[in-house]
């Protein structure tokens, strides 16, 4: 019996103590009409050896390919020490630190994380995580509605150049609470959000403005101008940011004259593997004045009975287990293990290392763009400065090109033509510090072959 330790002797003794004839009797309160006869649709058990074989066979069907996709999830080198420590049972199999005295490891780690994340984002206070970047942005918008008391409209301005999935998730999660979203266009030449397009909202009641930096195209936005416009117009500024980029880019807390009000994003680039889509984690940080509106767990340092420092969950009156229907969010379980990984990652790479990861990724993407744009039928879409992603425009549909590249062992990028049809055949590419010059050459050669072997559309 996998993982069940009971012997026949144990079972007999326990039933005797309970006064039941068999384990079936323990279910006698359940009306017979509901009892299931058997789970025929579930396969028979496999031993660990057999399931290991099964998983290896399944995984072998998904052979590794050279990855050039970003689009919200980024392949970075993860120091070996990170997951060696994260996989320790004391971190892996612990739960939410409700008994603080028995959870000082997790709690101190989260306090250190909050310190790092607050500094990285340039804000006063960070929480201990949300689910991911997209749902985190939804929570940030809901928070802005609560925090911006002077605004009644619940209207949020979003860039068209915001990650399209983030927009979908925003609608799915925040749409229920009657938030309305207006879209601000991007400049077709530069790829950045058009600041002048904000002017049509001058004097209107806008609750918040979202800025993604870099935006979905990888282009760097005029964060100061947008932040100042928001504040001049009584709106809060929400920055959805890439955490690696914050090692070299001005963080949200320093945008404009007063700094953005809420910073959020996906922490996956910090020591979390791609793992086919998750689990990742959402980070959120804000100014002190808004802390009581911030969702998610927050850890605080306090004193124990002997006057010695220790860590505990705090400001719990915001949360569902205290406030129930009046909570800031329904979030309970969050993404603790991934935050653990990120904290260890940030400790090992340090400020210098993270800056070099960021700068090297930018350089590699530039090299990638240069190499690919030399292939006939391929050109760069936008001419403004970027972080570590770029949009290329092909002279033919992107899908078949990507399939052909995949069969050559290359995952060439993300097809954005369905999301941005006005761009044409758009391909979003990314190269991080994990892509070598040789990798880039391999891609450029393969793309050259693929583009030659089929005619243009």
């Amino acid at each position: 019996m996998p993982f069940i330790p009971h012997t026949e002797t144990d079972i007999r003794a326990m039933l005797a103590a309970i006064g039941a004839s068999d384990t079936e009797a323990l279910f006698d309160e359940i009306p017979a009409e509901f009892r299931t006869r058997g789970l025929d649709g579930v396969p028979a058990a496999l031993s660990e050896m057999e399931v290991g074989r099964l998983m290896s066979d399944l995984a072998a069907r998904d052979t590794r390919r050279l990855n050039f996709i970003g689009a919200g999830a980024y392949e970075h080198h993860i120091p070996s020490a990170v997951w060696a420590i994260v996989s320790r049972g004391e971190f892996y199999s612990a739960y939410t630190p409700y008994q603080a005295e028995a959870s000082q490891g997790t709690l101190q780690l989260l306090y250190e994380y909050q310190t790092m994340m607050a500094s990285l984002t340039g804000m006063d206070i960070s929480n201990a995580s949300l689910y991911d970047g997209a749902s985190g942005l939804a929570e940030a918008c809901l928070m802005a509605v609560r925090a911006n008391r002077k605004s009644k409209s619940q209207r949020i301005l979003l860039p068209v150049a915001l990650n399209p999935t983030y927009r979908s998730v925003l609608q799915a999660i925040a749409g229920n609470q009657r938030l309305a979203f207006d879209l601000v266009p991007y400049d077709p030449q530069g790829g950045q959000t058009v600041v002048a397009a904000l002017e049509k909202y001058n004097g209107q009641d806008i609750t918040a403005v979202v800025i993604q930096q870099p935006n979905f195209f990888g282009t760097l936005e005029d964060v100061d101008a947008v932040t100042d416009w928001a504040h001049a117009n009584g709106a809060l500024a929400i920055g959805a940011v890439n955490p690696t980029s914050l090692a070299v880019l001005k963080p949200p807390g320093q945008w404009g004259v007063r700094g953005a009000d809420i910073a959020c994003g996906d922490g996956q680039p910090l020591g979390v593997p791609l793992s086919s889509g998750g689990p990742y984690f959402g980070f959120m940080a804000t100014k002190s004045e808004h802390v009581r509106q911030m969702p998610g767990r927050i850890i605080g340092r306090t004193l124990d009975l002997d006057g010695k420092p220790g860590f505990t969950l705090t400001l719990q009156a915001r949360e569902q287990h205290i406030r129930r229907s009046k909570a800031t969010s329904n979030i309970c379980t969050n993404q603790g293990l991934l935050v653990t990984a990120a904290t260890i990652y940030m400790s090992i790479v340090g400020p210098k290392g993270l800056a070099q990861v960021a700068a090297t990724s930018m350089q590699r993407t530039q090299q990638l763009v240069d190499a690919l744009a030399r292939v006939p039928g391929v050109r760069l879409a936008f001419d403004r400065p970027r972080f570590h992603e770029a949009v290329l425009l092909l002279d033919r549909p992107v899908g078949p090109v990507l399939e052909a590249l995949a069969s050559r062992g290359i995952v060439g990028g993300y097809d954005i033509s369905a999301h941005y049809p006005s761009l044409g055949h758009g391909l979003l590419v990314c190269a991080t510090e994990t892509r070598t010059r040789a990798d880039i050459e391999t891609y450029a050669c393969a793309l050259g072959d693929v583009m030659k072997s089929a005619a243009a559309a």
Binding site: A94, Y98, A102, L338
Partner: protein, 484 residues
């Protein structure tokens, strides 16, 4: 606090040089966007980082080190095989947006997981995307609203919730733009059907129920509850947090529930991770199939693909950047394959055996049960109101003293209905002698409560810190380290 903060180990200029690309690079960032001062991240050697975080881990209680009978959380053993096989390089290193042709192995796992979860819950469809129980609840209530809206039944805005419900239930209802109507439970733990009858009406969107309930007992008149709510035009939501009690014995779909969420990090043993990641997969009846959150996995012959908004035009939408917590889902898949058909049934059998045994032994030792006439499901409630009155030692004091005895305390002060309560869930992976040791500790602690109550009131004594001042933590906010 035994350990310095990582920042207190830092020295300017120290770094773990092996870890990042060496070539110094001129900053390619435009001046006006350049970060002025570097972020406050530790400057330590790799060994210092490893030593610091390893020592921090040693300050934690965990399932791997301690009996952890946290009621409603299902702290069962997390099999190492699940971790190992979920982290195979091909699965771990794959980008979520890579072509589907490059992910057929992964997609097959996800498809089969959907199928197995449908089978054990008796539901007609499953979506794996919600990233935790609370997000699963959100999806469930959002689907109920979407259903009523699709039938132009726009007045249905009220969600009924028992007063014993987990806090995420009413919080979720609010997040979905609904109002919450609480109904009382009877002294024997069942829902008050009369109260239910009096609150249903044309404004009823649905009811959120847990079965067995948060009181640890089976809602025996679930058939009547279903009739009353369905009869009034509402739908039934099942909070699957307590699925461990009935896995393989009863299926929520057979109890007339329209939508359920499962906590894969409870019932299906994915790691709790110090506060997540979880997974709150949702299952639906025929009625709600069109509204499921996307993406789902579909199959055509031997090929698998993601089903999205084009396939489910009435979907409530996407809840995550990609497809949910895939790594967690893989662990649940491996777990379910190792348990198999018979293993699933044994889960609830032995979880219930352990809970009932522990309950009887504590009752024999003189502890008061909240529902002494009822069978335990997979968990049960002890009330320490007598001890609080007689000795001045409350549930919190007992919990803190249990830590000294080497046990993580049960859940305290939930459900709110029962005063000075401990919600105790042993799970099926604990051996009889560990349950006996817990009973012995409880007896010893009560003896201390009687003769030396300060031992409880001052507990814990043997942990890295003494009892922490929560009031101070909220009054004097210290939420990050600052350099001197």
């Amino acid at each position: 606090m035994l350990e310095k903060l990582i920042f207190e180990h830092s020295a300017p200029g120290r770094s773990a040089d092996a870890q990042f690309p060496q070539a110094p690079v001129e900053s390619p960032v435009p001046t006006e966007l350049r970060r002025a001062a570097p972020p406050l991240l530790p400057e330590v050697s790799e060994l210092q980082a490893v030593r610091h975080f390893t020592r921090l881990s040693q300050l934690n209680f965990s399932i791997d080190t301690h009996f952890y009978p946290l009621g409603s959380c299902t702290m069962k053993y997390n099999p190492k095989a699940c971790n190992q096989y979920a982290m195979l390089p091909e699965l771990l290193g794959r980008h979520p947006l890579a072509p589907e042709s490059t992910g057929q192995g992964l997609l097959q796992c996800m498809y089969e997981l959907q199928e197995m979860l449908m089978e054990v819950t008796g539901m007609r469809g499953v979506s794996l995307t919600p990233m935790a129980g609370a997000q699963g609840e959100f999806a469930g209530v959002a689907m109920i609203r979407a259903y009523h809206k699709s039938r132009n039944d726009l007045a249905r805005n009220e969600i009924i919730v028992p007063d014993a419900a987990h806090g995420t239930n009413p919080a979720t209802a609010t997040m979905c733009g609904c109002t919450v109507r609480e109904i009382p439970s009877l002294p024997n733990g069942d829902i008050d059907l009369g109260a239910l009858q009096s609150v249903v009406g044309p404004q009823t969107a649905g009811i959120m129920l847990t079965n067995p309930s948060t009181l640890g007992v089976f809602e025996r008149r679930i058939r009547e509850v279903a009739q009353i709510v369905h009869g009034a035009g509402g739908l039934l939501y099942y909070d699957g947090a307590n699925l461990n009690a009935i896995l393989g014995k009863v299926r929520p779909g057979d109890m007339s529930f329209d939508v359920i969420h499962m906590n894969l990090h409870k019932t299906f043993s994915t790691p709790h991770g110090g506060g997540g990641p979880g997974s709150g997969a949702v299952g639906v009846s025929e009625t709600l199939l069109p509204f499921m959150p996307v993406p789902l996995v579909g199959r055509q012959g031997n090929t698998y693909r993601w089903l999205d908004e084009k396939d489910l035009p009435l979907t409530i939408g996407r809840l995550s950047s990609f497809m949910g917590n895939i790594g967690v889902l893989l662990r649940a898949y491996v777990y379910m394959r190792m348990l198999g058909r018979a293993g699933m049934q044994r889960v609830s059998e032995f979880a219930t055996l352990n809970a009932n045994y522990l309950m009887i032994k504590l009752r024999e030792a003189g502890f008061e049960l909240a529902y002494p006439e009822r069978r335990a499901g997979h968990e049960f409630i002890v009330t320490l109101r007598h001890e609080a009155r007689e000795y001045g030692t409350n549930a919190m004091d007992f919990a803190k003293r249990l830590l000294d005895y080497g046990f993580h305390a049960p859940t305290t002060y939930f459900p709110l209905l029962v005063p000075e309560c401990l919600l105790i869930e042993p799970t099926e992976t604990e051996a009889k002698e560990d349950l006996d040791a817990f009973v012995a500790a409880m007896i010893a602690i009560r003896q201390e409560a009687q003769s030396e109550p300060e031992k409880l009131k001052g507990a814990p004594w043997t942990l890295p810190v003494r009892r922490l001042d929560d009031v101070r933590a909220a009054k004097h906010l210290d939420l990050k380290w600052k350099a001197a």
